[in-house]
Amino acid sequence: MKRWRGMAPRRLLAALVIMLCHVQAADAHILKGEAVSFLSGFKHPISGLDHVVAMVAVGLWGAQLGAPAIWILPVAFPLVMAVGGMLGLLGVPLPGIELGIAASAIMLGGAVMLRLRPPLALAALMVGFFAIFHGYAHGSELPAGENGLLYSLGFVIATGCLHACGITIGLVNRGTWGKRAVRFAGAAIALTGVFFLRKAIA
């Protein structure tokens, strides 16, 4: 053991000296419009709390409703959100975007809090309706000069990951305390929505 203690730093030093003698340009910088676009797209939904709480609420509600809603909502949401994103990109006017986003947190959080169990079509319609507002906000805020495909992939995947977070949290929806915890999370989301609604109106 002692022998190793003595040898290791010397070997490391020797390796370091050899490596330093071979230093070359790393060429590790990402090219403009390549990985940057994916990362900025990925960061977009997770950098706004209003988007985060609504997406997590979709996952939570899906988990609460169980099959088939648990998988229909995450499949349908990105598609409808992309329709909203396309409207935003094309500059089609859609009034009250911020109000719609805040209302989505209130309604979806409220649905989780109250354990609402509407028919699947109605739940999908409600989620799809709010997805339009979130997508529109993303689409209208797409920065110029980015790679469209990578940016789009980034923000669609980030949205899907947020749904997955909601579904994973929703897995505690078993037993009295688990169900209470999920309802409490729904209440917290609805309250956050109220905060954003106040901000949007002010």
Binding site: V75, A82, G88, I157
Partner: protein
């Protein structure tokens, strides 16, 4: 014993000295030396999401429908890609970005919907998509500079991607795994829709 240790140290010293005497450019970077046209074709697919993602979507679709569909796509898609590429290389020009978005949307949508399409329909869809993307690749290749080999590399890479993804999906039986594939299709279709919006936005 001492002599052996001294000999060992001398060997290490000589080896270290040799390392210092031999510094040279590694030339491991592709832009510096290139790896030849076949590898250029292979790398083109893996570095171009606009080509790679439709191939993955097609493989997922074939995997969803079962092994016979996967086997059909395994040979058909690379072949159609290569033939489309040859056509594009000799007679093609321009880019079809809006149509690329449509291919994302169509195949991603079919995967998301878990569409129960028949083998002949899938054959037509796969051949058309592969021909179209191959054509776009071929149109960007210089036919006087080993373009055929680059297309061959591309087709080989397409074969590998189809084989990997289709064989990954075919044995999936649990519901959540099948749902995960549909979610992936939904993401691909959504990206296609956004790209379409992006293309129309840029054209305005």
């Amino acid at each position: 014993m001492m002599r052996r240790l001294a000999g060992s140290r001398l060997t290490k010293l000589l080896a270290s000295a040799a390392c210092f005497l031999l510094p040279a450019a590694a030339e491991a970077h592709l832009p510096a030396i290139g790896l030849g046209p076949i590898y250029d074709g292979v790398f083109h697919l893996f570095l171009s999401p606009e080509d790679l993602i439709p191939v993955i979507a097609l493989a997922l679709l074939c995997g969803q429908r079962g092994a016979p569909f996967g086997r059909r796509a395994l040979w058909l898609v690379p072949l159609a890609w290569f033939l489309g590429g040859m056509f594009g290389m000799f007679w093609g020009s321009g880019r079809g970005s809006a149509l690329t978005c449509v291919s994302f949307l169509a195949v991603g949508g079919l995967v998301a919907a878990n569409a129960r399409i028949s083998l002949p329909v899938l054959t037509v869809v796969a051949a058309l998509l592969a021909c179209f993307h191959g054509y776009l690749n071929g149109a960007g290749i210089n036919r006087f500079d080993d373009g055929t080999y680059a297309l061959l590399g591309l087709a080989l890479a397409v074969f590998v991607v189809v084989a990997l993804f289709a064989s990954l999906v075919v044995p999936l039986r649990q519901q959540w795994t099948r749902v995960a594939v549909r979610v992936a299709g939904s993401w691909i279709a959504a990206s296609g829709l956004l790209m379409l919006g992006w293309t129309l936005h840029a054209a305005r």
